[in-house]
């Protein structure tokens, strides 16, 4: 097995890495680049804790080879805020208590972010279907749905 060069952009920052091609995207993000906001909760593409955004679409970074993200724009939870200012979803999650242990929160936020880009005026049911791929064991989801709904309604403006 020979290592491969990998170029990708994470949260606007370009990275040039040298990796074993079997390395998963989540491993590159957490272990190679050191952005530990993105979590892992299973080995079966089930829980969504590792959700990140690649070129505007949400994906589960535990089920993608890092080399498949070659040349792409990756966004993680760390990329939501801009110079210390929280993104609307982050503020809304705070206000609605949309997290408890917080372990699913980064994935939940990234899924919601991508979802709202696709569907800026969703119904409650659409939001629920949107985040169906993310397990939260603490909140029972409704507070997350309320938070996403509030952002869609425009209650939270980005700076």
């Amino acid at each position: 097995m020979e290592k491969r060069e990998l170029r990708l952009t994470v949260n606007g920052q370009e990275y040039e890495l040298y990796i074993n091609p079997k390395t998963l995207l989540v491993e590159v993000i957490r272990d190679h680049i050191g952005l530990t906001g993105t979590k892992r909760g299973c080995e079966t593409v089930s829980c969504g804790a590792c959700t990140v955004i690649i070129d505007d679409i949400a994906v589960k970074s535990c089920s993608i080879l890092a080399v498949q993200a070659e040349g792409r724009q990756v966004r993680t939870v760390e990329g939501l805020e801009a110079n210390g200012k929280l993104a609307p979803l982050q503020k809304s999650f705070l206000d609605h208590g949309s997290y408890q242990c917080g372990f699913c929160t980064p994935g939940m936020l990234m899924m919601s972010e991508a979802f709202l880009k696709e569907n800026p005026t969703p119904t409650r049911e659409e939001i629920k279907e949107g985040i169906e791929g993310n397990i939260c064991r603490c909140t029972g989801y409704n507070s997350i749905v309320r938070a996403v709904e509030a952002v869609a309604k425009g209650d939270y403006k980005g700076e």
């Binding site: 957490r30 909760g41 208590g97 408890q100 242990c101 372990f103 064991r137 029972g140 507070s143």
Partner: protein, 762 residues
């Protein structure tokens, strides 16, 4: 609409660690990386019951990158358990020496440069087993011919509990109607999003530092000291952010023990993180139970007597199972008054995953059986199930004979709320029905089987020169929001802003001992300790204020919203920071330090206070497929004075989702001791699309034993929900489901059975 007399309590307060959690800054044990850190993996038993004849790991050691291997022989072989006062019940070697008792039990652990190498090394360890006969079901395990799982435990009976009050036989005599039922309750996985994880670092000075995803750092420190032969004081447990606990993370686990043993052998930090599969097969689970219930009532629905015989599947070890066994027996009587009540509980060892504490702690099983049978009795007698429950319910001042004294109890108002909800729903479509269920729960246990010499909860408050406050608590925030709740209590008591409080928790080096986050104890117990500590500090400030004010002695001074003032002359006052500065100068530069502690005394057998609640659920059922869909729900809930409004709501919604999962989704099938669905593809949990709206009606009561009148919230609601769902099924289809979780196939079969019976009748 009652106006809130408090300035912080029950207001809209963001979680104190909210920013860290919504920005990905919160660092969990899962994220910890230390210099020179090695990665550990655990070799697990493939057999449910076997003697270990020999372990040969020489080949593993030869694999490049493998730094060390440990087996039971490298340990002190201490049989440990959390019931430290009862040596018999300390029965688990975290790295077994002679024999394995369940599939997945650790037999060896490897430390290597990478997780991958460690995993490869596991395949190079040869373990020679002598496979022993095994037994998986309690009722098989008590048979004479059953194999002995633990030496000296005849018929594999691990613990027995007996609760009885009143003259049970006489009380049954008074009954006009007696009903008997047999129930079977399944297990449930805690399924914390953060799997068990630990990073241990042992250094040549004989000190061990452990990062661990735990509900109780103090327990870990003490238990580790016992199994590793170290002084408690030489062990530091750090656990700042925990990815969920739900009762699964306050006993030693393979991750913390094996990483510690490896680190002590190698003098390097070792990290072990469980895979999701390990989390399913080798941690602990909710206790499966089989219930026999006999209940006698009068024609008018007055409860006379109840007798319950319960066998619980203990799995291979005791864990917290003995407590679950007692609590299920006690809460099976809840929240009702019985002239005569008798409970015999038997916890039986089997060769399966140990069962232990899980949110609700035996009560969900108890309520699932009790609340269904009560619903059926009401139907049998043609009585209104809500009124029948109300008539027999606890009330403020009621004494559960020999067990508990009830101070605050708002269940009567809960009945009103639910009754109105049901009435307003009106007539429902044929495929829908409403089920209700009552419940109550404790606010922390009074029992001290852990044998701690410390008070159950402690807190220290120190005030800085600028008026900011350092709050040190041993209470543990595992996501339930205790740090926020305690900060609120501290701010309210001191009369400062929530932003003035910095909470320090999850570090045994800096925080006072506390039994930790389980049994719904922290709001009441840690809350009382924090209130006391804050009052202590405030008293020291006000002493100075009096000396300064020159007020007539009859005036009382107070601090509110950082404003020091005479209560009768709120306009006349000054800034709190100013007072703090004077006070510190007045104390020769000493910081203001307040101390508080709490240990329950003379509070009966179980808990200082009890929450009460009613759960209503509207369920839609596809009669052809048996598919269950939750449509709507209402929770009427008495937790005394709400402290942390956002946190309370979140806890109730969360408890609902977990309890609903227990009712119809979360299923742990075993074959020959092997869990058949140890992954999130086959083990289903509630997802956003399955969650109905959850409306909550908070019933305000005042619990004299609790801080500002607060008591349990968040765990208790795990108790009624499953029964509410099955009661809805009963009303929609007229079938009685006696096994949970209720899977669609069971509903279809029950309907078939019902039809055949009806045909036979004709």
């Amino acid at each position: 609409m009652t106006i809130n007399k408090y300035s912080v309590i029950n207001t809209h307060v963001h979680n104190v660690d909210g920013i860290a959690k919504v920005t990905g800054r919160a660092t969990y044990t899962f994220d910890v990386k230390l210099p020179g850190m090695l990665y550990g993996k655990i070799l697990r038993s493939p057999h449910p019951h076997a003697k270990i004849l020999n372990i040969d790991y020489s080949k593993a050691l030869q694999l490049p990158g493998v730094i060390g291997v440990v087996t039971g022989k490298d340990t002190l072989g201490v049989k440990q358990g959390i019931w430290r006062r009862f040596q018999d019940l300390c029965d688990e070697q975290m790295l077994t020496v002679e024999k394995v008792r369940y599939i997945g039990e650790p037999v060896a652990a490897v430390a290597a440069l990478t997780e991958e190498i460690a995993e490869q090394a596991l395949d190079l360890i040869d373990v020679e087993y002598e496979v022993l006969p095994s037994v998986f079901e309690p009722l098989d395990a008590i048979k004479k011919e059953a194999p002995e799982i633990h030496e000296g435990f005849e018929r594999n009976i691990n613990v027995t509990r007996h609760i009885e009050w009143g003259d049970v036989e006489a009380a049954f005599e008074e009954a006009d109607y007696i009903r008997e039922d047999w129930f079977k309750c399944g297990g449930q996985a805690h399924m914390c999003m953060e799997t068990r994880a630990a990073v241990s670092s042992y250094t040549p000075d004989g000190k061990l530092t452990v990062y661990h995803s735990t509900q109780a750092p103090y327990y870990m420190q003490t238990l580790l000291a016992g199994v590793l032969g170290l002084k408690e004081g030489n062990i530091r447990v750090i656990s700042h952010y925990v990815g969920g606990g739900f009762g699964g993370k306050f006993e030693l686990d393979g991750a913390i023990f094996c990483s510690a043993v490896l680190s002590m052998k190698l003098y390097r930090p070792v990290k072990i993180v469980f895979t999701r599969e390990e989390e399913f097969i080798a941690t602990k689970r909710r206790t499966p139970m089989s219930y026999y219930v006999r209940t006698g009532v009068k024609k008018d629905g007055t409860f006379c007597a109840r007798e319950a015989k319960v066998f619980t599947n203990g799995g291979a070890y005791t864990g917290m199972g003995a407590t679950a066994l007692y609590l299920t027996g006690f809460f099976h009587s809840f929240p009702y008054r019985w002239t005569g009540y008798r409970y015999d509980g038997y916890r039986v060892y089997t060769n399966t995953l140990p069962s232990s504490a899980m949110r609700g702690f035996g009560a969900p099983q108890a309520m699932w059986c009790s609340e269904q049978q009560i619903e059926w009795i009401a139907a049998d007698l043609g009585l209104d199930p809500i009124e029948m429950r109300r008539k027999n319910a606890h009330y403020p001042g009621y004494e559960v004979p020999g067990q508990a004294s009830i101070a605050s109890c708002g269940i009567d108002q809960c009945f009103d709320v639910i009754q109105k909800w049901v009435k307003d729903k009106g007539k429902l479509p044929g495929n829908r029905a409403i089920g209700i269920s009552a419940a109550g729960f404790m606010s922390g246990g009074i029992f001290n089987w852990f044998d701690t010499p410390y008070s159950f909860s402690s807190a220290v408050v120190t005030i800085n020169y600028d008026g900011t406050v350092e709050l040190y608590v041993g209470a543990q925030d595992i996501g339930q929001g205790s740090n926020t709740t305690l900060a609120i209590i501290c701010a309210e008591t001191l009369g400062v802003k929530i932003g003035d409080i910095k909470v320090h928790s999850g570090d045994t080096e800096h925080c006072p001992a506390d039994l930790g986050a389980w049994g719904s104890r922290q709001t009441l117990m840690a809350g009382n300790a924090v209130k006391m500590a804050a009052e202590d500090a405030k008293k020291q400030l006000l002493e100075i204020a009096y000396a300064q004010s020159g007020f007539n002695i009859v005036y009382d001074l107070d601090i509110k919203n950082r404003w020091v003032h005479a209560i009768d002359r709120p306009e006349r006052g000054y800034d709190y920071a100013e007072l703090v500065q004077k006070a510190i100068r007045g104390k020769e530069g000493q910081r203001i330090v307040g101390r508080g502690y709490y240990t329950p005394h003379r509070k009966g057998m179980i808990s200082p206070a009890y929450s009460y609640m009613l759960q209503g659920v509207e369920v839609e059922i596809d009669k052809e497929t048996g598919k269950i869909k939750l449509v709507d729900s209402l929770t009427a809930h008495d937790c005394g004075q709400p402290i942390n409004r956002l946190g309370l709501m979140g806890q109730l919604e969360g408890a609902f989702s977990m309890a609903a999962g227990y009712g119809y989704l979360e299923y742990m099938p075993y074959e020959d001791g092997k869990l058949m669905n140890p992954n999130l593809v086959d083990y289903k949990v509630i997802r956003a699309t399955e969650m109905p709206e959850v409306s909550v009606a908070e019933i305000d009561t005042y619990e004299p034993e609790g801080p500002y009148g607060a008591k349990e919230a968040g765990e208790g609601l795990t108790n009624p929900t499953a029964a509410a769902i099955s009661n809805a099924i009963f009303h929609a289809l007229g079938v009685q489901m006696k096994e949970c979780p209720i899977r669609p196939e069971m509903i279809v079969n029950a309907l078939k059975e019902k039809e055949t019976k009806e045909r036979e009748k004709k």
